[in-house]
Amino acid sequence: MLLIRCPYCEEERPELEFRNAGEAHIARSANMAGESDDDFEKFFFIRSNPKGIIYERWRHMHGCARFFNAVRDTVTDKFVMTYKAGEPKPSKLPGVAK
């Protein structure tokens, strides 16, 4: 089981309190009806599914109930960092060699 740090509660809590909410930083169109089929497919279905660093959303379902973002390595399942929803995608990751 993963230990996940909620950036709002500022505490590491067991995974059971959280729900994974998929890939992060996929912006929903402000004009969904005007989206082309190609763009809708990219938004709705296509995922980067990386072997390595992933940017993903979690929700502290059985805690503060808020959404936040996390950076995790999908090979080791180690979290690099978590940050609040709305904050920009971190350009530099602590402890990750580029």
Partner: protein, 417 residues
């Protein structure tokens, strides 16, 4: 290839078993092949086998980064059934089921297909409605599936707890008698032996690191840890790593990879005569011919390539197993493991041509690809050989996620996801 038979056993017994030959050869890779298959699991090896036997294409290499059958083929719970809801799914899974029947004879290799029946339990009114809908839909498609009362379910699987005060009362069940299990390793080995005997090269410990494309976009071959290998046609059958390989060719996929776990108990005498699945409490169980209880759990909730998973997922499944089969509460579990499954948004596979000429993909089998192995290989070989899908896999395109013509087994599947 020397045929296996009772006479071969007798002959080798006389000679001190010195005459058995290697089941498949391990040749050096050629510079170029007609077709390269990426991934020597059951689906990839079956594809190579049918390319050779049905289509006469034998200049084929199957590249494998690890060892043959060491991925999900060796990690699944070996359940075979075809009781899917939609016509498209029924078509492909029943095509596979028909091939399972007779596969041992076809391959001259005992894959131990055992049609012991797959029973799916209903615990509440909703389950009854869903499973009965499946029974009717299956029968319209010519697939056997029948409805059992709790008493009939108990008769079919005596260790099942059907008492009225059970935590998860059994209020009925559906039964596909043609469903069952097979020996997963033997499936990979049998296809490998058959393909190798017809000239297919199986190259293990050879990881694909890139896909080369010509100026016009068409596939030229693959870079590997053993150098560049050319081919005008490349079939990607890499399960959890399919999207990684497809990214090398510049194709982004509607796939996410999750760990899926299973576990086996210590071996005991025959006690579970069939496969029992329960969607609602998420547990499924069968007994291998060695005597181990084979138990499948669910996926973890996050994308991962770690081939392991959270202990709480196994615990959840074992809780359910112990409620349904109280006699197993004191059994010891022997081993648990995880495999990486590639899941599509509609939980149906993708077996298709891709936007890249000469590149084909067979992926997205998610949590239940083993059962489809022969059928998947058969129609995927057709797709590669003819550069055109077989009618059975024609609906399983990548484009369905753009057009919206999904095969939405996810919402109404009989399968535990």
């Amino acid at each position: 290839m020397k045929k296996y038979s009772v006479f071969a056993i007798a002959r080798e017994a006389m000679r001190g078993h010195k005459g058995w030959e290697e089941q498949w050869s391990s040749p050096e890779p050629r510079k170029e092949y007609d077709v390269i298959i990426v991934g020597a699991g059951g689906h990839g090896l079956a594809t190579a086998y049918y390319l050779a036997t049905v289509h006469g294409i034998t200049n084929v290499a199957v590249l494998e980064k690890g060892w043959l059958g060491g991925g999900n083929t060796g990690r699944n719970t070996t359940i075979i059934r075809s009781n899917y809801l939609y016509d498209e799914s029924a078509g492909i899974y029943d095509h596979a089921l028909k091939l399972w029947d007779g596969l041992s004879q076809e391959l001259n290799y005992n894959v131990m297909y055992s049609a012991r029946g797959v029973m799916m339990l209903a615990h509440n009114v909703h389950d009854v409605q869903v499973l009965k809908r499946h029974v009717h839909a299956n029968r319209l498609n010519g697939i056997d599936n029948e409805w059992l009362t709790p008493e009939q379910a108990k008769e079919f699987c005596p260790p099942l707890n059907t008492s009225k005060d059970a935590r998860y009362p059994v209020v009925g069940a559906s039964l596909q008698r043609r469903g069952g299990t097979a020996r997963h390793d033997a499936v990979a080995w049998g296809y490998a032996r058959g393909a190798s005997a017809r000239g297919v090269h199986i190259i293990q410990n050879c990881e694909v690191t890139g896909v080369k494309r010509a100026a016009n976009g068409a596939v030229m071959g693959v870079d590997t840890t053993r150098g560049f290998i050319g081919a005008k046609k490349v079939g990607v059958v890499a399960a959890g790593h399919s999207s990684v390989i497809m990214n090398m060719a510049g194709v982004r996929m509607p796939l996410e990879s999750y760990p899926l776990q299973a576990l086996v108990s210590e071996p005991v005498k025959p006690v579970v005569p069939c496969v029992v699945m329960s969607n609602t409490v998420h547990a499924y169980i069968s007994q291998s011919d060695k005597g181990e209880l084979v138990i499948g759990a669910g996926t973890d909730q996050y994308v991962s390539y770690s081939q392991t998973g959270g202990l709480h997922i196994l615990q959840h499944t074992l809780d359910a197993i112990c409620e349904m089969f109280p006699i197993f509460t004191r059994m010891k579990m022997l081993r648990s493991w995880g495999g990486i499954v590639d899941v599509t948004p509609d939980r149906s596979p993708i077996l298709a041509k891709t936007p890249v000429p000469g590149l084909y993909v067979n992926c997205g089998w998610g949590t239940g690809g083993f059962k489809a192995t022969p059928g998947s290989g058969h129609v995927f070989a057709h797709t590669i050989a003819k550069d055109d899908p077989h009618p059975i896999n024609a609906p399983f395109t990548i484009e369905r996620f753009r057009t919206g013509r999904l095969i939405d087994e996810a919402a109404a599947a009989a399968v535990a996801h």
